[in-house]
Symmetry: C3
């Protein structure tokens, strides 16, 4: 049986490290933490080392810490850090871990969070390492699906957009294999899910479908997970422009969908969801962002050993 102890002092680097029962434990904890505020984390310090800007992830983590009465230190972009003086990430991590109880790290380069975890004696949470992983986004996505749909198991989930560079998709697709979800992958050929990930799905015996046509995929979806084509991942701006508007979800397309379809997006969105969709009763992407605070409150409290008073 999973207990709060299983999270104490743990690194959070990839979703693959978390078993189904651990994920469900975390989602249950998030439910309980949603309304908790106060001084649970008084005197505890969390460092946000963001070598790449982020509004959502950084602010929702900082909100989680603030709601529980802890403090944040850190930087929001590489320019302010000692990197400018030639310091390696490993050294920055070794220094900053001595200032705090928990390291939250975002870095453009894949594998940086794991490197950090090797050098840190305190827990490290990967808040995005390039196109690789962003596990707490996946926890939030799972929480949102369960909360909006009432369950995760057996749902039909359609992913659309940039499945090549979108780490939110990579992680969520991976973890959904633990929930017997039916996955449909909608992307132009250039932006398909990477071969190694498709192979991994095959090896796990997971059934999935690949399509190019969003309209054809929508009718059977319980959940539609839209993603932004991320300009910052393209080296060639022409490639970016070619694919930027590959899909735009609007009310016309949604007329073909089940009435209870739940629409998610890791945000920020640009053109891939028309603003007219925002008032759809199951347009859940802003709620999805908000749930992030509850999930991160629970996660931080668990990693630091302060959750038991609440659970």
């Amino acid at each position: 049986m999973v207990t709060a102890r299983d999270f104490l002092g743990r690194d959070v680097l990839t979703v693959g490290e978390f078993r189904r029962d651990e994920l469900l434990f975390l989602l249950d904890a998030a439910d309980k933490f949603e309304r908790v505020t106060g001084t649970l984390l008084a005197g505890r310090v969390v460092a946000t080392l963001f070598f790449e800007p982020s509004t959502r992830t950084r602010l929702s983590f900082e909100s989680a810490v603030g709601r529980l009465g802890g403090s944040c230190i850190g930087f929001a972009e590489a320019g302010i850090s000692s990197m400018a003086k030639g310091e390696t990430v490993a050294d920055t991590v070794r220094v900053v871990q001595g200032y705090c109880d928990l390291l939250l790290l975002r870095h453009p380069k894949e594998g940086t969070a794991r490197l950090a975890a090797e050098f840190a004696d305190i827990p490290v949470v990967n808040c995005g390492d390039g196109a690789h992983q962003h596990p707490t986004q996946t926890f939030v996505d799972l929480y949102t699906i369960r909360r909006e749909c009432g369950r995760i198991d057996g749902l039909k989930i359609v992913f659309a957009g940039d499945l090549r560079y979108g780490r939110a998709v990579h992680s969520l697709v991976h973890v959904l294999t633990q929930f017997k979800a039916h996955v449909t992958l909608v992307a132009p050929d250039f932006l398909r899910l990477p071969q190694e990930q498709l192979r991994a799905l095959d090896e796990m015996g997971v059934e999935y479908r690949e399509m190019e046509d969003l309209e054809a995929a929508v009718p059977e979806a319980d959940v539609l997970y839209m993603t932004r084509v991320q300009q910052e991942r393209f080296t060639d701006p022409h490639e970016y422009l070619k694919f930027r508007d590959a899909y735009t979800l609007d009310l016309k397309i949604l007329r073909r969908a089940k009435p209870e379809i739940v629409i998610l997006h890791p945000l920020p969105r640009v053109t891939e969801i028309a603003t007219e969709v925002d008032n759809h009763p199951h347009a859940a992407y802003f709620r999805q962002a908000h749930y992030g605070v509850a999930v991160r409150k629970a996660l931080i409290a668990l990693l630091l050993g302060h959750a038991e008073k609440v659970l």
Copy 2:
């Protein structure tokens, strides 16, 4: 009669939304909050979305939150935000409002705060939207005038400098109409108060004078409100250079003033007040900045429903 309840959950977008008795209630509350520190706001989170840099406003708000034991999240310039990824302000607001209890917004574009308020379910405080409005600056100015002069009603108040782009002036002139103050507007022709604002004064039957000569305006002033010619509002640097040094208040000019004249400035100042003036007993511009913390403590506590314990 005004009570704390009248402020609960309210947006603060323009000074025009506040009646005289509400303004006086806020000033009284600021008096009471001046020395309050502690944990009144423990677990409450305030977001500072500053799409344009600001030292004074942002830091005095953050100080107010810190003095009362709350937490701040946010960003201090647009570059760190999701704007760089193409997100609209409306989306940023919809996301961040789920992370906090109060949104403090500064943006170079007029009307952004109102837009934000439409999309947010929590109170929004306009911390400056272009050359338009900056209501808490006005609250601080009013507080300073009352505290330094003992009253506001019937004072002779001279504004000098950039009255065209100076939003602090626009707001304060507007609100002074509720206090029967006598307003003199001193500016070179190019930097006069905008026509629409002059018309508004006319329509309200407010008497005002316009002048170009600071020395001629000083002798009758109870309050002299100097302003900086704001380089960032000019598109043509030559225009800026032409007007930058339009007025410089020095001790020589002040020799013509009443001994009790109170000198204000929203700061930062560049050349428009000579540093020799700083030691004038009624050079109140640094105190004016400091009073901002008390006023903002009171305002935040009122908007969030935590003021009653203090009032």
Copy 3:
């Protein structure tokens, strides 16, 4: 006898202002504060005015404040401040001191901290003013030496690298004169300790040796204090490249050292200590960074009059 009162409200501008017994009092206080966390500083606000980026100093101060339950406000680089609008440092200081209880200031220009202290009614801590002084770094260095070696008096301390621009070295060499330490200065001719500092050592009757060869200096060292050649202090990039790799401490060189040699570095390091040295049992430079939190907790609490509960 030194008491906590001797620190109350005091500026910390240069190490020279602190007597031996005061320094020892501070180090003892740091020992006691190391494990203290909580709400000692609830409602207290500390401003970090960093006109020049810094990871280590800023984050360790912010950690110290957070551990004790206070709040930080401020900026991490000049671009976000009102300097961009033409405000002088003096004005920024006069404004911000009204928002907080303590000013932490870093500025590229020598003497800025003293200037700030003249304009502030609250304590100012110099967190580095150009190549001049960085007294809290020196407190941390002293604390580290005492903790790692058990004492300071009479130790043989070798400084190597950029002794010309390295303010950490300047300050520490100065203060070691109070502890009868034996100082060896290892630098290429261009990066020697400045003449005025050498003269000061002469005038105080302090014995020191100057050398160019690191290997020759190592065998007798109890403490080896390595420094980075700071690119940001050079105006000519060719000069920088010439000296960047002047010394690289590696295990081969350390084979000539006493087994108990303690290796320090103010960090960040670039190439001057090979990473293979990191696992040396007395490679203390990361611990040195971590001790900074304890020392700064003690210092802040002392300056603000909150230390007596702990001491």
